[in-house]
Symmetry: C2
Subunit: 332 residues, 2 copies
């Protein structure tokens, strides 16, 4: 099937076209550019939720329960799994745990596993492109699931308008294991498995940590999201049971409250700007690093510089400056 | 003390000048550039050894024993510790375990701890600059100690002419915990704590893994170091006891054999080229990323692009291309 047919298929809601375009953007940044060029003006309708939590916090069961709620509201849902240990790829929604190869769709739900994929050109770059494909595919809500470790996972959360962090009673140090950067951008804390002993204690722990954190932010004026006076979102804390669905109505309302807050405060615009900046930064970095590598491998001048550095008539910083000039002005 | 006095002090072998220059290159890439500009033509005499091993493999005791041998040969030695858990910073050589703040010197030995330092501009960039300072300071041998995890640590090993990997009997999976990339560049395997049961089995395990690896390399023609026909270094395997010094004479001979091999085969030139390429690449990347961040924060055009991306008249890839053009031609 040719490229334009895939784009046409995607815009008509064809799942196979969507899946094939995702593979293209994951594997090849030049094709990614072509895909995004073609679909960008059809994006912007989907609302992006980021969900993270340590292994064992029940992310996949939680997402399955959340998805059921959204399906009942006649929403079309896209799910992107970054967590390589996630059993979510298809299995959890169907009641079994078979791991799907890469993508899977049932009526109104499309699941894409990006674990161990798209690393080459940057996982967050590829994830942002897959979000846009799901958006153009017609999804109303896109859920990104990550395990919340590593810088690229924090970058991924720039894509999410509302960030949910899952914790469970008992698991004493799960708050600590979540990377600090993700804590800072959490909008809703969810204590999953609320039937287990210690759920209320976990809520109190989060409350305490939150107060410390807010005090710190206040003293250091470093909270980007609340930089405009009066625009403060105080993260909510909720207990749920993903197996029984208990408190999911309340959870849906909390998500809606945060979404309304972003719209009414105008911070949705700040979110979009940060998201655009973050993805543009990823693309620029990737393209420049590719150029550097090509230059180091192929340009004749590099060998000459290398000889000079070897015989000490040039030092590595000066060579680096010459390479930057070559990048800026290839014909000089 | 002014900059030129520090440089003069360094070149006369003043340890305090060396330590202060190291702090400068770790904290500020512009000062690093100035330092390397000033000393580069005085470098190139030191031979760089890289030493890695999992925690518990006895790296600091091993390095202390190796250093004693080198002191006896009237060598001047520089040691750079990257391993944040290393107790080597001064203590091990003096018989106690007091952790030094950042650097420490006794007659003919200078130790610098870079754990948790110089991360900002790239740990491997800063390490390479500290190597040059130790080289200009007059060191004959520079030892880099790392724990061998993470990409930046693998990058650091581009600086080393001879790479030693420490393993210990018993610790069954220590071979697996060492990052594959480091295994590929190992020149000498050292089974430390040879008095423990299982030392010979460990040697056999390494031998076996090495044969598999060499077979794989041979079939895939991907061994850079042996890319010229006939230039094959077969990694050596040695047992030592760092507490008693047993087999350290043999170890010194093995290091000398590898050094002679590099010189006689001409591969020393390839090593230097790879090292220069690696450090130049780090510098170029860091400088470009800094430029991108400045541009994203300050340039007026960015806001205009951002508005276009928000209203869908421009997509993020096209914005990235415009930013790359701005970087290449700031006045356009």
């Amino acid at each position: 099937m040719d490229f334009q047919s895939l784009i046409d298929g995607l815009l008509k809601g064809d799942a196979r076209s969507a899946a094939r375009l995702m593979t293209l953007v994951e594997n090849d940044i030049e094709l990614a550019e072509k895909v995004i060029n073609s679909i960008y003006d059809k994006t912007g309708n989907a609302y992006v939720l980021g969900i993270t939590g340590a292994p064992g916090s029940g992310k996949s069961t939680f997402i399955a329960a959340l998805t059921k709620k959204l399906i009942a509201l006649r929403k079309k849902i896209g799910i992107i799994c970054i967590d390589p240990s996630s059993p979510l790829t298809g299995g959890a929604l169907l009641g079994d745990r078979i791991r799907m190869k890469e993508s899977f769709s049932v009526k109104n739900v499309f699941i894409r596993s990006m674990a161990n994929r798209g690393q080459l050109g940057g996982l967050s770059r590829a994830t942002e492109d897959v979000i846009k494909i799901l958006d153009a595919y017609g999804c109303d809500i896109i859920i990104i699931e990550t395990v919340g470790v590593g810088q690229s996972e924090v970058d991924i959360f720039h894509s999410a308008a509302t960030v949910l962090v899952l914790l469970v009673p008992g698991l004493g140090d799960d708050i600590q294991t979540i990377k600090a950067g993700i804590m800072e951008i959490t909008d809703i804390f969810v204590v999953n498995k609320m039937d287990l002993p210690g759920a209320d204690r976990k809520v109190a722990e989060i409350q305490q940590m939150l107060e410390l954190n807010l005090k710190y932010r206040y003293e250091n004026h470093d909270n980007q999201k609340s930089s405009e006076k009066g625009n403060h979102w105080i993260p909510e804390i909720l207990k749920v049971n993903s197996l029984t669905g208990e408190n999911f109505d309340e959870l849906m309302k909390a998500i809606e409250r945060h979404r309304n807050f972003l719209n009414q405060s105008g911070l949705i615009s700040k979110y979009l700007e940060n998201r655009i900046k973050s993805e543009t930064r990823q693309i620029v970095k990737y393209k420049l690093i590719k150029k550097i590598e090509e230059l180091l491998e192929k340009d004749d001048k590099i060998d000459a510089y290398m000889r000079e550095v070897k015989n000490k008539s040039l030092d590595p910083y000066s060579m680096a400056n010459k390479i930057i000039k070559l990048l800026e002005n290839p014909k000089s």
